[in-house]
């Protein structure tokens, strides 16, 4: 085997090996790389959440569940993954894309009564981009978020 063939072989095996090893490591740390949990995972105890630990919950803001206080700073809403529902209480400024039926990721603490007190609310949007008219035509006046309902 010529030296350059040997070098090529070393590089190819090196890159492939590193990639495979890297992916194995990432897979092992999978749970730590998860940015948020779904209400189902938390409420059915699929992930252990130590009491008082800050976690993130992701899902959809249930339609009709948003209730704002008169001063507009306190807000209650329900996060759902279309299976389980988790009531959330939050005080603060909401992002522009926070809407009913939209994706949301919220950080805070799970309470003993299975409600969630959030310290931060982030809006999660889908990968769809279109003019409003196209969205109207597609969904008959309303839009349904896609992508967020995907289970991990």
């Amino acid at each position: 085997m010529k030296t350059r063939h040997k070098r090529l072989a070393i590089i190819v095996t090196g890159v492939v090996g590193l990639t495979v090893a890297g992916l194995f490591v990432l897979n092992a740390f999978r749970s730590n790389l998860v940015f948020f949990y779904s209400p189902t995972e938390v409420l059915e105890g699929k992930v252990s959440v130590p009491a008082g630990k800050t976690i993130r919950i992701g899902g959809l803001v249930e339609k009709g569940s948003v209730q704002r206080s008169p001063d507009g700073l306190k807000v209650d809403f329900v996060v759902t993954d279309l299976n389980k529902k988790l009531p959330v209480h939050y005080e603060g400024i909401l992002p522009d894309l926070f809407r009913e039926g939209q994706g949301v990721v919220t950080q805070g603490r799970l309470q003993p009564d299975n409600t969630f007190v959030a310290s931060e609310v982030l809006a999660k949007h889908d990968e769809k981009y279109m003019p409003p008219e196209a969205a109207q035509a597609l969904k008959g006046g309303t839009f349904t978020p896609g992508g967020e309902t995907k289970k991990p």
Binding site: R7, V15, F35, P95, L97, L122, H125, K128, Y129
Partner: protein, 245 residues
């Protein structure tokens, strides 16, 4: 391989690149102007994000370039390691600063987009974190290359670093599918129903093509400088300079 060595001779490449650069620059300008016109004046507002989604026409092409340039850099580095082709060595080295600046652009525009839409400048989710790691890989590559005096040894060492970092590229790409992330999945490149309206896809693709040609224009300009520097002892450089002055 003989062909590669003939066409990859620095003298031949210097002349060829000199002829190609103005054309590539012109093509870049046309693509970017067309992309900006369609993106800022023609494309309609988005049904969810309003006008803010126009950041996409910078952010997405920049993010694509950050990965594309990295793959170019690592690929050229590998070719240089195996076949000892100086030109690929120089190409790899000149990819890094351009790639780093596109990664920086993708990170900052992402932040400027994330604040109004998500409600946060930054989140440690898998997509954002892996893109940040890409930025550090570029910085590490440049630091390593600069720390070794002999250009050929520098190129080898940094090529190996680039190849190790290639692992990060599929991680960036698939991060939004493998893990729960704040970042949304890809809009372009999926099989099936397109999730981006044609009127918005057109400027996105034009800008991406524009960025691609921009990268090659700049890379050729950088390589021409480096060729002159490295080949300063040869007669063809001496002749070239005499004929020019």
């Amino acid at each position: 391989m003989q062909y590669m060595h003939k066409y990859a001779s620095p003298k031949f490449f210097y002349t060829l690149a000199g002829k190609l650069t103005p054309w590539m620059a012109a093509l870049t300008a046309v693509l970017l102007v067309a992309g900006l016109y369609l993106g800022l004046f023609v494309a309609p507002v988005d049904f969810q994000q309003g006008e803010s989604y126009r950041i996409m026409f910078i952010h997405v092409p920049a993010a694509w370039m950050s990965m594309f340039i990295y793959v170019c850099m690592a690929g050229a580095g590998a070719i240089a390691l195996v076949w000892n082709v100086k030109l690929f060595e120089m190409f790899a080295g000149n990819c890094a600063p351009v790639g780093a600046s596109f990664t920086f652009l993708a990170l900052v525009t992402g932040s400027l987009w994330g604040k109004p839409m998500w409600g946060a400048w930054w989140a440690w989710d898998a997509r954002l974190t892996s893109e940040l790691i890409l930025f550090f890989l570029y910085i590490g590559y440049m630091a390593l290359e600069a720390s070794i005096d002999d250009p050929r040894r520098a190129a080898r060492a940094s090529a190996i670093l680039a190849l190790v970092g290639v692992v990060n590229i599929p991680v960036i790409h698939f991060s939004v599918e493998w893990w729960n992330t704040l970042h949304q999945p890809a809009s372009v490149g999926k099989v099936g129903t397109p999730s981006i309206h044609p009127s918005m896809l057109a400027p996105l693709l034009l800008m991406s093509l524009g960025f691609t040609f921009y990268f090659f224009t700049v890379a050729l300009m950088r390589m021409r400088n480096e060729i002159l520097e490295r080949e300063r002892h040869t007669t063809w450089v001496a002749q070239l300079l005499e004929s020019k002055s």
